[in-house]
């Protein structure tokens, strides 16, 4: 059943509609059933979640008899952004993930954000799938605000990701969808994986298996699932080392994503194509796993090149 959860009239013969696909068990009353919500496309340039939505619906429909709860799938929270390859909300240059929980009496996008929250609140778990951005590739991971870690880490461990990153509380992040829902007693996991404007099929399939596993744990799915990967859980800020470009240039990587590096290993070079010179070499400052690596080659001074997750030798 496909339903429009929010809509706004646009100036010239168009209605902006945010839609969800609800999958329910055949012939059962809905009262008392558990509900999982899968959300993606808040940033219009992040497409990894598109394939997850497709694959999840396909798997459920192929084995409908195994569905024992409600699955709500929202593939395009920012349909104008997805359609126009725009990260934010076109026409406003506004990051949609900075306007939650929205406002019933606010401007158009605040109103939509409020409608979205109203529809999602009450889910037993919500998964908000992001795809980094066009600059960085991420290993499948779940990011958790430390304020909500007790409740969320046990759920995240079932989602078949490689890494769970518990980060510090940040006031700015209070206007995200995840924070708004977690603050309203709706546990919400933020997945980051892959890269903007692309679909990494292997990551999408990995996460789909994880979602099915989580559904099984919650009593929403009785079909076969695979045992989830055991993710590395990082709770300490010192576990993660940021690598930033020292100067502007073109970044040429020397290693692969998720490679285990030793201190001093070459990660990549910043080159100057005009002069034909190597401007800088980026080397691993610690032993660790490279869980983020730069995808987009052009860098300014300060551009993020990658992130290393410290390997514990103790």
């Amino acid at each position: 059943m496909i339903k429009t959860i929010a809509s706004v009239k646009m100036p010239v013969d168009e209605i902006l509609q945010i839609k969800k696909h609800r999958l329910i068990p055949d012939g059962k009353p809905l009262a008392g059933l558990k509900r999982i919500s899968i959300v993606t496309g808040i940033h219009g340039d992040e497409l990894e979640g598109q394939y997850v939505c497709f694959e999840l619906i396909r798997r459920i429909q192929a084995q409908r008899e195994s569905l024992t709860g409600i699955v709500d799938i929202y593939p395009a929270m920012n349909p104008l952004g997805i359609d126009s390859i725009t990260r934010g909300i076109p026409a406003f240059d506004l990051d949609m993930n900075r306007i939650f929980p929205g406002n019933q009496d606010g401007d158009m996008m605040e109103y939509l954000a409020n409608q979205i929250i109203d529809d999602l609140v009450g889910s037993d778990v919500c998964i908000d799938i992001h795809a980094s951005n066009i600059y960085l590739t991420e290993i499948p991971q779940i990011r958790i605000n430390e304020l909500h870690k007790e409740r969320l880490i046990p759920l995240a461990e079932k989602a078949n990701v490689d890494f769970i990153w518990v980060h510090g509380a940040n006031t700015v992040l209070e206007s995200t969808l995840a924070h708004s829902l977690n603050s309203r007693n709706t546990p919400t996991l933020v997945v980051e994986m892959g890269v903007g404007m692309r679909i990494t099929k292997s990551y999408c399939l990995q996460l789909t298996e994880g979602i099915l596993n989580l559904m099984r744990e919650l009593g929403i799915w009785q079909g076969e699932t695979i045992p989830p990967r055991r993710p590395i859980v990082s709770e300490h800020p010192d576990d993660v080392c940021y690598l930033n470009a020292s100067m502007a240039g073109v970044f040429i990587p020397h290693v692969k994503h998720w490679e285990k590096l030793k201190t001093g290993d070459l990660i990549g070079r910043i080159i100057d194509p005009l002069k034909g010179e190597i401007l800088d070499e980026i080397r691993a400052p610690i032993d660790g796993h490279l869980f983020t690596i730069r995808e987009y080659p052009i860098v300014d001074a300060g551009s993020l090149i990658g992130r290393l997750l410290r390997v514990d030798h103790s």
Binding site: K9, P11, V12, L94, G106, L173, G302
Partner: protein
């Protein structure tokens, strides 16, 4: 006057990115004025250029009081101004969402940190800024309720309005908020326009700053004293919202006095030319904000009104 580079980074192919500052007087860090932080803030750039011109004259005529240092930064983001892009060219981040910055962080965090390092610890901080929705404002001073706001001080500008609003989560990374945290008396100054130059409201802003500095005994200025400012809470403004979408025509402009029941604007069907909606004022008052683009969405607050009486 001393022109100095506040922050500089090298680019691969463009000229160096430079943030320039103009310093007047000497002594303690007294007043810092920041103009455009985004690539479409042309009015904000223009006002600062006129302020630099005015302060050159004040300095020549010895009308800056001893012991006061005044810094004006017309543009924090010249790269974006030059390519007509609102935010940072490569990653579309907003420098005014990066304060206080981080000198080992990403590019715009570094710019914010480099600039903030210079402009913090001033007694007074004034920023010309803009709003994300398209429209024109009545000139006003906007203050966040961060716990340090002083409306009596804000009234000294002599702007028509002083607007108070609650702090939102994303405000904590703005220049205004961080100035306040560092004990600077911070004021956001809004004039009528952003991407177009409006000389009349620019002059109102320049006069208001000179008035304020005169009352604080920082410069000698004998111009028009301005308005007796009305302090308004953002939440007390009366929005007028559209029910339909289409071609928008406003019959009033920001600053106009309006009466209850007055026709403010109308929406026309973009294909058939029929009027689909007429927007009437629910109050006697004044137009504080008016949408100024020819198209509108439904559910858009195209006007914000200040009522003369409580509604």
């Amino acid at each position: 006057m001393q022109k100095k580079i506040i922050y500089e980074i090298k680019s691969l192919y463009r000229d160096h990115f430079r943030v320039n500052g103009y310093e007047f007087g000497d002594g303690k860090k007294s007043v810092c004025i920041v103009g455009s932080t985004r690539g479409n803030e042309i009015q904000q750039l223009y006002i600062c250029s006129q302020l630099v011109k005015a302060f050159k004259l004040l300095e020549q005529e010895n009308r800056i009081k001893e012991g006061h240092r005044i810094l004006i930064i017309p543009a924090v983001n010249p790269y974006s101004l030059n390519i007509k892009k609102r935010f940072w060219p490569t990653d579309n981040t907003d420098i005014n969402r990066m304060f206080p910055g981080y000198n080992l962080g990403e590019t715009t965090q570094r710019i914010a940190a480099g600039v903030f390092d210079v402009i913090k610890e001033y007694t007074y901080g004034m920023q010309f800024t803009s709003f994300y929705t398209p429209g024109k404002f009545t000139p006003h001073i906007r203050m966040m309720k961060a716990g340090f706001e002083n409306t009596d001080l804000a009234k000294k500008f002599g702007m028509p309005y002083v607007v108070l609003r609650n702090t939102r989560p994303y405000d904590t990374t703005t220049l205004n908020y961080n100035w306040q945290i560092w004990e600077t008396h911070a004021f956001s100054i809004y004039t009528t326009t952003t991407s177009q130059i409006d000389k009349e409201s620019a002059q109102t802003a320049i006069r208001s700053i000179l008035n304020f500095l005169s009352k604080e005994n920082i410069v000698e200025y004998h111009g028009h004293e301005g308005y007796v400012s009305l302090v308004v809470e953002d939440t007390d403004m009366v929005p007028v919202r559209t029910k339909s979408a289409g071609i928008f025509e406003s019959l009033v402009k920001a600053g106009d006095e309006i009466y209850r029941g007055q026709l403010l604007g109308q929406i026309t069907d973009p294909y058939e030319g029929e009027i689909t909606e007429q927007l009437y004022s629910p109050v006697d008052g004044m137009v504080f904000f008016a949408h100024d683009e020819p198209l509108t969405y439904a559910d858009a607050a195209v006007y914000k009104l200040v009522a003369h009486e409580k509604v």
